[in-house]
C-alpha cells in the first residue's frame, strides 16, 4: 500500500513543466533533466484535484475531490473535501492526519515509521525534481511532445510491477504543470487524477498547514 500510495503522491506532485517540446530528437534523459531544472524554480503549488477511482468489479466510479498544497522544502497538505473530509499535513519529519468521522488528529513521526519515511523521502525527491531517481524502477517514455505526455511502465524486476501496469502523466497545454495522471493497476482498477485551478509560486495561507478544523 505504501508503494502504491507513494506512487500516487509522487505523480501528483509533478509540476512546472515548460519549453521541453521543441526538439523531437531529444532523448528521455534530456527531457527528465529539463523537467528537473524547471521544477527547481517552483517553490509553492496549490491545486484542486478530482480523483476518479474505477473499480474493476463494479461498473461504477468513486470520485474524490480536494486540494493539494506544496511548499518547498518540506510542507505538503493533501485535503479531501468529498465524499468524506480528510486532511493530511506533512511538516518536516511529522505527518498529521484528520478526518471528519473520527474527528481525531493523529501524528506520525517519520523516524518511528520506516515505511512511511521511505515513502515521504521519495515524495520529497519528486518535489525537488529529482526525476532520474525513478529511472531504475520505470521505463519512461515520451509519448507526446506538445504538450508533454510521459508514460511510466515498471521494469520487470521492479516491485511496482506487481501492482502497476502503467502510469501516464499529461501536462497542460502550456506545459507549466500537470493536467492529469492516469494509473492503471494490475488488478484492472484505474485511477485518474485531474488537476484544476493550479497556482504556482503563490503565497499559501497558513490555514493550509493546519490539519484539523475546516478543510475547505
Amino acid at each position: 500500500m505504501k508503494r502504491i500510495m507513494t506512487t500516487l503522491l509522487l505523480f501528483v506532485c509533478l509540476q512546472s513543466v515548460n519549453a521541453y517540446a521543441d526538439n523531437s530528437s531529444r532523448d528521455i534523459t534530456a527531457v527528465l533533466e529539463g523537467l528537473e531544472k524547471m521544477m527547481s524554480g517552483t517553490k509553492t503549488i496549490s491545486t484542486d484535484f478530482i480523483q476518479e477511482k474505477s473499480l474493476a468489479i463494479f461498473n461504477q466510479k468513486i470520485i474524490l475531490k480536494g486540494k493539494v498544497f506544496i511548499q518547498k522544502p518540506s510542507l505538503l497538505s493533501w485535503r479531501v473535501m468529498s465524499p468524506m473530509r480528510y486532511s493530511m499535513v506533512m511538516r518536516g519529519n511529522t505527518i498529521s492526519q484528520w478526518d471528519e468521522d473520527t474527528n481525531q488528529v493523529q501524528q506520525v513521526r517519520l523516524a518511528e515509521n520506516p515505511g512511511f519515511q521511505v515513502a515521504i523521502k521519495q515524495m520529497q525527491n519528486w518535489f525537488y525534481g529529482t526525476f532520474k531517481s525513478m529511472v531504475d524502477d520505470y521505463k519512461i517514455t515520451l509519448i507526446t511532445e506538445h504538450p508533454i505526455t510521459l508514460e511510466f511502465v515498471p521494469w520487470e524486476n521492479s516491485v511496482s510491477r506487481n501492482f502497476i501496469t502503467r502510469v501516464t502523466v499529461f501536462f497542460q497545454n502550456d506545459e507549466r504543470y500537470i493536467r492529469e495522471v492516469r494509473i492503471e493497476e494490475k488488478n484492472g482498477d484505474s485511477t485518474s487524477l485531474v488537476f484544476v485551478n493550479a497556482q504556482l509560486n503563490q503565497l499559501i495561507p497558513l490555514s493550509a498547514w493546519e490539519v484539523k478544523a475546516d478543510v475547505r
Partner: protein, 220 residues
C-alpha cells in the same frame, strides 16, 4: 483476532475514539401495532439490491481509522462485493461473498500475513446488511415502544428490535448461551427511490471489543 485488529490499526496509523455519532430513534407509543404487519412493511421498504458508498470507521479500544467503502449487495441472493479505500483513494481490500463464503479479490499483503481480515469483514457485512427481517416464524412480543422478534439461528438466537417513526429496525442482536456477542444499530433511515436505507449503522462486536461505524454517503 486482537493481533489482527491491532495490526490494522497500526497500518492505517490513526488514533482516537468517538461516542455514538447518530441521534437515537424517537420512541413513540405503539398502540395497536401488529408485529406481523411491522415485519412485512419493513421488508417491503427495503431494496432487494443496492449499491452504496459509505464511510467506515473501525474502532478498537482508544484507536480508530477511517476508510471509504463501496458495496454492491443483493439481499435476496445474499451476495455482495465490497471495496474499501483509504481517504487518499488507495484500495485497502476488495471482497465478494455469499451466504456461505467470502472470496478475497484483493487485500493488502501485510494484512493477510497477520490474520484472516477478509473473513472478519465479510461476516460483519453479512451481519449488517443480510437477514435484517425476522422470519414469519419468529417469536414476537411488544412493549410500549418496541416490537421485538426473536428466533434461533445456528447455535444462538437473533433478536430484532423495531421502534420509532415507521417502526423500522433499530437494533439486531445476536446471543449465544444468553451472552450478547454482537449488535448492529440502525439510525436515521432515509428514503431513496422508494426504498429505505439507514444513514448510520454501528456494529458492536462485544466478543472482540471492536466497533464499526458506517455512514451512508451515496446510494447509486
Amino acid at each position: 483476532m486482537r493481533r489482527l485488529i491491532l495490526f490494522g490499526l497500526i497500518i492505517l496509523t490513526s488514533a482516537g475514539c468517538s461516542t455514538v455519532p447518530f441521534p437515537r430513534a424517537s420512541y413513540i407509543p405503539l398502540d395497536s401495532a401488529d408485529p406481523q404487519l411491522v415485519r412485512k412493511e419493513f421488508a417491503a421498504s427495503l431494496p432487494d439490491r443496492f449499491q452504496l458508498i459509505n464511510s467506515i470507521v473501525f474502532q478498537y479500544k482508544w484507536q480508530s481509522f477511517s476508510a471509504l467503502g463501496y458495496i454492491d449487495a443483493n439481499r435476496e441472493l445474499k451476495t455482495f462485493a465490497v471495496s474499501c479505500l483509504n481517504p487518499v483513494g488507495i484500495k485497502l481490500f476488495e471482497l465478494s461473498g455469499d451466504k456461505d463464503s467470502v472470496r478475497t479479490n484483493f487485500v493488502l499483503k501485510e494484512l493477510l500475513r497477520r490474520g484472516d481480515l477478509p473473513r472478519v469483514i465479510g461476516e460483519d457485512i453479512r451481519r449488517i446488511y443480510f437477514d435484517i427481517v425476522p422470519s414469519p416464524e419468529a417469536k414476537a412480543q411488544k412493549d410500549r415502544y418496541r416490537v421485538i422478534f426473536r428466533e434461533p439461528v445456528g447455535s444462538g438466537a437473533i433478536q430484532y428490535i423495531f421502534a420509532g417513526t415507521g417502526l423500522k429496525l433499530i437494533e439486531k442482536r445476536y446471543y449465544e448461551k444468553n451472552r450478547l456477542l454482537w449488535s448492529v444499530f440502525y439510525y436515521q433511515y432515509r428514503r431513496d427511490h422508494g426504498k429505505f436505507y439507514p444513514a448510520g449503522i454501528i456494529l458492536k462486536n462485544y466478543r472482540f471489543g471492536y466497533n464499526l461505524i458506517v455512514r451512508l454517503k451515496e446510494v447509486r
